[in-house]
């Protein structure tokens, strides 16, 4: 009877393709919007996640997220290093100087100052140059997107000059730092130089980053640091979520995306669910004939579920394929770099589609189950 169920489903090509494409576009829209939403929020913590060699972040108790920092005292670094279980801890500076090219092009930038001795906290990979060249005086590493923003339509080239706070700075490397939330250049310099590129203040120590020693987890170490220093200590993952939650709570981003996702869900539900429901209801006469000929109710339920399962699986696969293609294309564009189709979005969308189709199936199954087989004699 599986053959009968599937042939009934695919027999009316217009309805069948209507169903499949309704589910496919619903899937695409949901996966697209939820992935973009999640990736944009993830960008708020890009510079945190780029620091792969540290697992613990220490900051002023008033610091809530990456963008908003209150400087620590230099002595705090010593205090943190004195906490048992800290394998190493180094300073990290974050500022937003204005970088200006010789042609006059300028941009507010994210400047990250790395520990002079270890350069701990540098992003993953260099596209040109090397991190070691940061040891040269007045040197900076800039990310590719920042370079293209400051030097539009020019090839990647080391040795170019920037002016920051009256300092003549040489680009000694181009990194693939993750895209920040705001589309600003991301620059790295040594700590001692970075503070000069922004302009000296009384205190400049934005963060202390470190790693726990053997036998102690990052989570346990943060608790120990907080207890002994009174400073705020977070694991990398906790700090990332601090940033994400701050934007969720204090910006309109979740509302805007939430509306779009809700609309996608409602429209998808209405279109896909109602189309499938109507498909079954329009076939009531056929189901009635099958009932008269001796098809049991459980078998009919199985047929409808098979129809629902196959049409939703095909629509979901097509929609996911469309979403994957979309992100594959946009992944290679500078503005949308790093925005990928997240497996969580795929799983969430799959669950939504399954829910919608199951609800539509249950409603239509009810109509089939209460159908009197004698109805077939009524024309």
């Amino acid at each position: 009877m599986n053959f009968v169920a599937l042939r009934m489903l695919t027999g009316d090509r217009a309805k069948y393709f209507g169903l499949v494409f309704a589910i496919a576009f619903c899937t695409f829209l949901l996966e697209n919007q939820t992935s973009i939403f999640a990736n944009i929020l993830r960008r708020t913590a890009s510079q945190i996640l780029d620091v792969t060699d540290a697992e613990v972040w220490v900051m002023d108790p008033q610091t809530e997220y990456w963008e908003q920092t209150k400087a620590l005292k230099d002595t705090d670094l010593t205090r943190v290093r004195g906490v048992p279980g800290v394998e190493w801890a180094v300073r990290l500076f974050k500022g937003n100087p204005v970088a200006r090219t010789l042609k006059g092009k300028f941009a507010v930038s994210f400047l990250v100052g790395l520990d002079d001795a270890t350069l701990a906290g540098a992003p993953r990979r260099m596209l040109m140059g090397s991190w070691e060249r940061l040891r040269e005086p007045d040197s900076v590493v800039v990310d590719q997107a920042g370079y293209e923003l400051l030097f539009p339509d020019e090839p990647l080239e080391l040795g170019r000059i920037l002016e920051m706070n009256d300092h003549r700075v040489t680009i000694v490397g181009i990194s693939d730092a993750s895209a920040p939330f705001a589309s600003l250049p991301v620059m790295h310099a040594r700590y001692s130089e970075a503070v000069n590129f922004l302009g000296r203040e009384r205190t400049e120590l934005s963060f202390i980053i470190g790693r726990p020693g053997p036998g102690i987890s990052p989570k346990a170490l943060t608790a120990r640091i907080e207890a002994q220093t009174g400073l705020r200590a977070r694991t990398t993952e906790e700090f990332m979520w601090d940033c994400v939650n701050y934007y969720l709570k204090h910006t309109g981003i979740p509302v805007n995306f939430g509306i779009t996702i809700a609309v996608a869900l409602v429209v998808g539900t209405v279109v896909a669910g109602q189309t499938f429901y109507l498909f079954t209801v329009e076939n009531l006469k056929q189901f009635g004939a099958l009932k008269a000929m001796g098809v049991t109710n459980p078998r009919l339920v199985g047929m409808i579920l098979l129809q629902a399962g196959s049409v939703s699986a095909l629509g979901f696969a097509m929609g996911t394929g469309m979403a994957a293609t979309f992100f594959e294309i946009t992944l290679h564009k500078m503005a949308t770099r790093g925005i990928v189709l997240m497996w969580q979005s795929v799983a969430l969308t799959g669950a939504c589609i399954l829910f919608v189709v199951v609800v539509a199936s249950v409603l239509s199954i009810r109509r089939v189950l209460v159908l009197e087989p004698a109805e077939v004699f009524r024309g």
Binding site: M8, A289, V295, T296, F377
Partner: protein, 256 residues
């Protein structure tokens, strides 16, 4: 599963069968004590005005509806002893249906439509379609086995429906107005095929019809009126009047 293999002279025996729909003021008495017999090997016609209860009666006899009261035995099985689940299995094995509007599955070819009862019974698809094609050939549709219903004429569609009703060799075939949607020639063809292929010593055929032009195919004609059998006329000329005041001669004329 109901054992309907026991041979009895009567394929269907109704005694005082009643059926009502609804309750209270909305209650409708569709069958008001029907006495009705159908013998094996016979083509029994059920005639009467619209709303007299013909369709309800064949629905009850075919196991599509439960009767409200009375005794009903079909193919030797007392239907009041049969559970709803077994009633479905009883229909699957023992009853073939021909509907007025054909009720063919539009996405299926003629052969696939005919094969549906076999598929329901669990026959492997290839074998089911093969048997369906053989039967369609017997009914003169060997050249249209792969055609979709929408490409067939009304007469051809009803022949496909007839093949579907017979393919699993049921012992009872129930036809509801099989010629109503057809022109006279197509109706004659369908009835000719029905009489030739469906009538069998071990099978009973009940035909509900308004079409007096095909009465001459009947072995017996039962005329219903107001939820009761008013009169039964047999091809041998005997007539049994249940309600003398409602007697008509048209059925007897059909056998003359």
């Amino acid at each position: 599963m109901v054992d309907a293999t026991a041979k009895t002279e009567l394929a269907v025996s109704c005694r005082g069968v009643r059926k009502h729909f609804g309750e209270g003021e909305a209650r409708i008495e569709a069958l008001r004590g029907v006495d009705f017999d159908v013998r094996f090997g016979e083509l029994s016609f059920l005639v009467g005005p619209s709303g007299c209860g013909k369709t309800t009666l064949i629905s009850v006899v075919a196991g599509l509806l439960n009767r409200t009261a009375g005794d009903l035995a079909v193919l030797g099985t007392r239907m009041d002893d049969v559970s709803d689940e077994d009633r479905v299995l009883f229909r699957r094995k023992n009853v073939g249906f021909v509907f007025q509007q054909f009720n063919l599955l539009p996405a299926f070819t003629a052969a696939e439509n005919v094969a549906v009862p076999l598929l329901i019974a669990g026959v492997e698809r290839r074998e089911a379609v093969s048997r369906a094609k053989t039967l369609l050939s017997r009914l003169g549709l060997q050249h249209r086995t792969d055609a979709l219903p929408k490409t067939l004429s009304g007469g051809q569609q009803q022949r496909v429906a007839l093949a579907r009703a017979l393919v699993h060799e049921p012992r009872l075939v129930v036809c509801d107005e099989p010629t109503a949607a057809l022109d006279h020639a197509s109706g004659e063809t369908v009835m000719e095929l029905l009489a030739t292929n469906a009538v069998h010593p071990d099978r009973a055929v009940i035909v509900v019809t308004h079409d007096s032009r095909v009465f001459h195919y009947a072995h017996s004609i039962a005329r219903m009126d107001d939820g009761m059998i008013a009169e039964v006329t047999h091809a041998n000329g005997t007539a049994q009047s249940h309600r003398p005041d409602a007697f008509r001669h048209s059925e007897q004329e059909a056998f003359s």
